[in-house]
């Protein structure tokens, strides 16, 4: 087990290193940030001075060397645009993205699991067929376009909810969150629904497949034969057993929701990490882009590792193989 975790950690470092080198080099080739940052009317001397101040006048390999050295000390560089440490800028935006991701996950679980169970228990009913048709639709709908439709219907035509932006925030344990006030929730509702749709379709399909598979097994028949009420068979016996694969998928999908938030945040002008990184790519703000990717990749790898460990803890049949 220890060997396994150590190997995964080594792998993590390698992936982080490759990602950072790729993005660092790539953004260097795409364009010179000085052209965007400095007033176009500035003369060459002015440009050279700003380039020197940001360390951009050195050869790329040296720049990368400096980056790696300070990154190992926990410093991911200063944003060219904000003039503050890139990591700080990102961490500041993180709560907005995380609250959106968690809300979206809750919505997709809250609706997806009951709908999936229903469709799995009564596959022949018309409502089940309707649910499944909707889930194919959910897979096919492009996220950003659904966002536009939501804005058009609920904000422009009906005027029920605000179209873009984030509501007022309240401090919860020192973190500024908006979903704990009614006004904040009004702002968060449309983006969260938008982000949830794709996952909702996925969870419906997964739950249905699990229910159909499990309900044929002996333990369910036995529970029924014992004369247990249907509610108990489904709510306790069945639910417990479909939860294990669901936990894994939900864990992994949380990461993907955070990545997909880039799209939703852009549509709804939600001030999270995703919006920040899109803006930073346009402004060639290399430190922020690199830092964002490293933070997200790190989050991803940690989530994957935790899920793997959880899985083997939840299901003793899955033993993690020791290194050969």
């Amino acid at each position: 087990m220890t060997v396994y975790i150590l190997r995964r950690l080594a792998q993590t470092l390698l992936v982080l290193f490759v990602t950072s080198a790729l993005v660092f080099g790539g953004l260097y080739l795409v364009g010179n940030p000085i052209d965007i940052l400095v007033n176009p009317a500035a003369d060459e001397i002015e440009k050279a001075r700003s380039a020197a101040a940001l360390g951009l006048d050195r050869p790329i390999l040296e720049q990368y060397g400096i980056f790696v050295k300070s990154a190992l000390a926990g410093d991911l560089g200063k944003s060219f645009v904000f003039g503050r440490p890139a990591l700080e800028v990102i961490l500041e935006r993180m709560p907005a993205t995380l609250e959106l991701a968690v809300l979206a996950m809750l919505i997709s679980l809250g609706f997806g699991v009951p709908m999936g169970i229903f469709a799995g228990l009564y596959p022949q009913k018309n409502l089940s067929k309707f649910i499944m048709a909707c889930s194919i639709l959910g897979f096919s709908l492009p996220t950003f376009w659904v966002g536009l439709v939501l804005i058009m219907v609920f904000a422009v035509q009906l005027g029920w909810l605000p179209s873009t932006g984030r509501g007022p925030t309240t401090e919860v344990f020192g973190v500024a969150l908006s979903i704990f006030s009614l006004e904040g929730l009004r702002y968060a509702l449309l983006p969260a629904i938008n982000l949830a749709l794709f996952k909702l379709a996925l969870i419906i399909r997964l739950t249905r497949a699990q229910v159909r598979e499990q309900s044929l097994l002996d333990y369910i028949r036995f529970a029924r034969a014992k004369g247990l009420p249907r509610r108990r068979v489904v709510g306790v016996h069945l639910l417990k057993n479909i939860l294990i694969p669901l936990v894994t998928v939900v864990g992994l999908e949380l990461g993907s929701v955070i990545a997909f938030a880039i799209v939703t945040e852009t549509v709804f002008a939600w001030p999270g990490m995703g919006k920040l990184v899109i803006d930073s790519i346009f402004q060639l703000d290399r430190p922020v882009v690199v830092a964002y990717l490293l933070v997200v990749v790190f989050m991803f790898i940690s989530i994957n590792l935790v899920v793997d460990l959880l899985y083997s803890a939840l299901d003793p049949r899955v033993r993690i193989a020791e290194a050969k």
Binding site: Q11, V15, T19, L22, V23, G25, G26, L27, L29, V30, A133, I136, L137, F139, S140, L141, P142, T143, F144, W145, L148, V149, I151, M152, A155, V156, Q157, S163, G255, S256, A259, F260, I262, V263, T266, V267, V277, I278, I281, F282, V289, L293, V296, V297, F300, I301, N304
Partner: protein, 287 residues
Amino acid sequence: MKEDTPFASFVRGFFENPLATAGFVLLCVVIVVALFAPWISPQNPYDLGKLDLLDARLPPGGQYLLGTDGQGRDMLSAIFYGLRVSLLVGVASGLIALTLGGLLGVLAAYVGGRFEQLLMRVVDIQLGFPAILVALILIAVLGKGVDKIIIALVCVQWAYYARTARSAALVERSKEYIEAARGLGLSRARVMLRHLLPNALPPLIVVGTVQVAHAIALEATLSFLGLGLPTTEPSLGLLIANGYEYLLSGKYWISMYPGVALLLTILSINLVGDQLRDQLNPRLQRA
């Protein structure tokens, strides 16, 4: 009835499902429209001489069936041309990724050893990240352009094909006909390409349909974010993005109709893919 070839019964099975049939018909329409866009469009949307700014942002109906955009461009024509770009990107990247991933996957299963381990490790790591993130990194690094986005999409997708091809090839490898082909003294390359590869194709085709739909959606998303195609060759995603600024003032048609076209395209591919998967999946055939 008894003389049905396997292919004929496959086709009959496919069209027994009304949803899949509808998807197939829709897909044919989409492909025909995309292929013949220059001949069936009411207007060449990129011939600036034909555009009249006085016609800008007209609502649907009248001379322009689906209205016009900010430059007085007929939306219907813009959608036809956009469909062309979207399909081209999706299909081209799908085919290249299928070839590359399929070959690598079969090779891994056939050669085994270090090569297989390394390849599968790379696949595992890549598939651990959401496609949008990988594509975003690559586009940020590569820049804009049709060729660039196809490269990025191939890089995103090859791993799915490689994994599928390898597992299909692992099953096929141990079968008798492969042993027979080897017993005939055929070269390794020939056994792999002419015997093993064709038999590993069905699951690859299923993955392929799903992946083409994904690729089209992903390209549209990247273009919407302003990271995909240049404005000179607008795909459906870019058309939707162009209409975004007019949405809040109630001029819905500029981004709504390209979105409907995108949705119908992806939906039709998914419906066909769903049915293909059910039919080609050996586990479901017993039922």
